[in-house]
């Protein structure tokens, strides 16, 4: 069982007596001290380049970066560390894929009806630029994934890019089934794991997913770090996205010779401190149990959901069962600007929640909902915090 009190001591911001109640984990997780310390150590002790300088500091950075790549490969059970490409975030990973995969005019790409803009805009742009056909898979009424709709649409498609867990409602799509169905139809699958990587075990080999991208900042790591995973053979077939220093073996005035994967996708000097911090984040997560994390999140979600249901005007986005929504409770009140809720909660009780359209504008526009307030919990949140949230929420609701 998670020892929350002990865990909270690992986070400087939570150790303080006046610690904020941080319920915006779907946007950004807090960082354990080990992550921050590892980054500081890099800057204080060996702030050098990796892979090119022969001195001891350079060697140390190279070793640390390699260690992190191996750690992450192991974390998601990739076949090889060559399948791990460092990016700035999930968005960059998806852009890399959309721009490097040999899409042709008329190729059909499928996405769900509640994708984060990061997994929608690159494809909309490719529709304009390369003439692909972008199809939206309609979900069920409760916002869960509709496999039947998918089965119909996947026939003749070229590619599927789908969010693993939605940042809108916390619903995790049946990735394994989706991938199996897609593969049966000869369709490759990319999973946007930005929202799932920090909350559940992801085994790329078990899922048999072709491409996967996620960000470091939602999984205890530093902002500006991310991972793009691809099966090695598929990565080798992708064209380079950004080129320049570190992506080439050699150049002449007329030509260049690209490096192998993963380096051919990692143009320019990398965020070494960030990558080292990300490695520490993975180590931290590895010592915890995803099963226990999930149980804890669902316990908090169940309490908050039950309390919110006492107010008929509060509408929760997604399925009724909190178990299906992981650590996310996204709600709205008709004809009410939910920014107000978030601001008042923050001002009166130091409770940080997210309000707005959560980068899923397309879904909100289609449902004609102005905006919502999203509570997203993580393993370091406590039941007491959930109770304080409900108590303050009730006060606000009385004046709205």
């Amino acid at each position: 069982m998670l020892d929350i009190n002990k865990i909270r001591k690992d986070f400087k911001i939570l150790s303080d007596e006046k610690a904020p109640i941080y319920f915006d984990n779907a946007c950004m997780s807090l960082k354990p001290n080990t992550v921050v310390n590892a980054m500081n150590t890099y800057y204080y002790e060996f702030p050098a380049c990796a892979g090119r300088s022969a001195h001891k500091m350079g060697d140390k950075v190279t070793k640390k970066i390699k260690e992190t790549r191996t750690l992450i490969a192991k974390f998601i059970n990739a076949d090889s560390q060559k399948e791990i490409i460092f990016t700035r975030n999930t968005t960059e990973g998806i852009n890399l894929l959309a721009n490097s995969f040999p899409f042709k005019s008329g190729d059909i790409v499928l996405v769900s009806d509640k994708e984060h803009n990061s997994n929608l805009v690159p494809w909309l742009r490719l529709k304009e630029k390369a003439g692909i056909i972008l199809k939206i898979i309609p979900g069920n009424n409760d916002n869960t994934f509709n496999l039947e709709n998918f089965k119909e649409q996947v026939i003749g498609a070229k590619f599927v890019s789908i969010g693993h867990t939605s940042n809108l409602d916390g619903v995790t799509n049946p990735a394994k089934e989706i991938i199996e169905i897609a593969h049966k139809n000869g369709v490759l699958v990319h999973l946007d794991a930005a929202q799932s990587i920090a909350h559940q075990k992801i085994d790329v080999r078990d899922l048999d997913v072709d491409f996967l991208s996620f960000s470091g900042h939602k999984m205890l790591g530093p902002s500006g770090t991310g991972i793009f995973y691809g099966k090695q053979k598929l990565l080798e077939d992708l064209a380079p996205f950004m080129v320049g220093g570190d992506t080439v073996e050699s150049t002449t005035y007329e030509s260049y010779k690209m490096l192998e994967v993963p380096e051919k996708f990692e143009a320019g000097l990398q965020d070494y401190a960030g990558i080292i911090g990300l490695g520490e984040a993975v180590k931290y997560l590895d010592q915890l149990s995803f099963k226990e994390i999930s149980e804890h999140e669902i316990k908090l979600n169940t309490y908050i959901t039950e309390e919110l249901r006492k107010f008929p005007k509060v509408k929760i986005i997604g399925p009724t069962d909190p178990v299906l929504r992981g650590g996310i409770i996204n709600f709205y009140i008709e004809n009410t600007d939910m920014h107000k809720f978030a601001i008042i909660l923050d001002e009166m009780a130091g409770i940080a929640i997210r309000s707005g359209q959560h980068c899923v504008h397309s879904w909100f526009h289609s449902k004609k909902i102005y905006n919502s307030a999203r509570v997203s919990v993580y393993f370091y949140n406590t039941m007491e915090e959930a109770e304080i949230f409900i108590s303050n929420f009730t006060k606000i609701l009385k004046i709205i």
Partner: protein, 314 residues
Amino acid sequence: MACLIGLIIFGIMGIFSASHRALAKEAFDCVFRRITLRPCNSGFKEKIKGKILSRLINKSPFTARMVNRHYEILSWIFFILMVGSTVWVLRGGYNFYVYGSCNGLNASGFCAFDPNGDNNKISSVNGDSSTCGIVQKSEKTVTLKNIDLSSFPAKNIGSKDTVVFIGCYDCDYSRKAYPDIQKLVAKKDANYIFAHYPAKGNITDKLAYAGYCIYKNDGDKFWDWNTYLFATDKNYILDPVNLDTMLQKFNFDVKKTEECIASPETKKAVDSQVIELNKTNIYGTPTIFINQKAFVGPKPYRVYRSAINKFIFF
């Protein structure tokens, strides 16, 4: 509306604080979008509303609910009040500049720029002759219309501007205003008439008689004498024992002047002057008429300058 109020308030506060500057920038963005017929998307309105409500919610949920429900109306009310108070402040500033009082010409209400009311202090002539201080302005119209000023000392006759100084040798506020009026008259070569009014009773009678006699006998020598009286310690000038010494100082014929002072005609003439001055309805000294406009109390020099330069627009 909240954005506009925010822009003005945070714009002013932003002069001193960087955090308020950021809010002012958000408010400006919001106002700019609204005036270009686009929705305000900065969330500024909700941010400010949220901050207000969060402070009210624990103290008075009822007030918080009312503010939330009627936020737009309250914003309008505050906006109107703000515009009104801004106009009021500007008007006050203008009045203070041209009249020496935020409340208008000779008005003695509270003025933030002149909290002690120094520019409106007078020596009262309406009965309470022993006290100096702020007195309520009389409703009577102070005017020079139909007043015969021919018997009073005058100089620069024929000038286009006329300044009439009604003051008293014993009154601090007259003594305060006197140098500024001399400066003004000298600068503008204005037609200048001096009238002594015994605001504090008979104590100044002898000096008034002396002044009358000196002007009658020695003409323009009167002005130096008069300036001397306003510049010298009043206890000294009011002591009858010192009169001869003072007359000698200016080489006046002491005997002749003393005889003139003692003559019943002089008393009659000075009394007639006071009767004439009373017709102006003055209620305190100093009262200075600049081209017929009455300024009661010792105003800053700029007020007199504005009046004579016709800088007063309304």
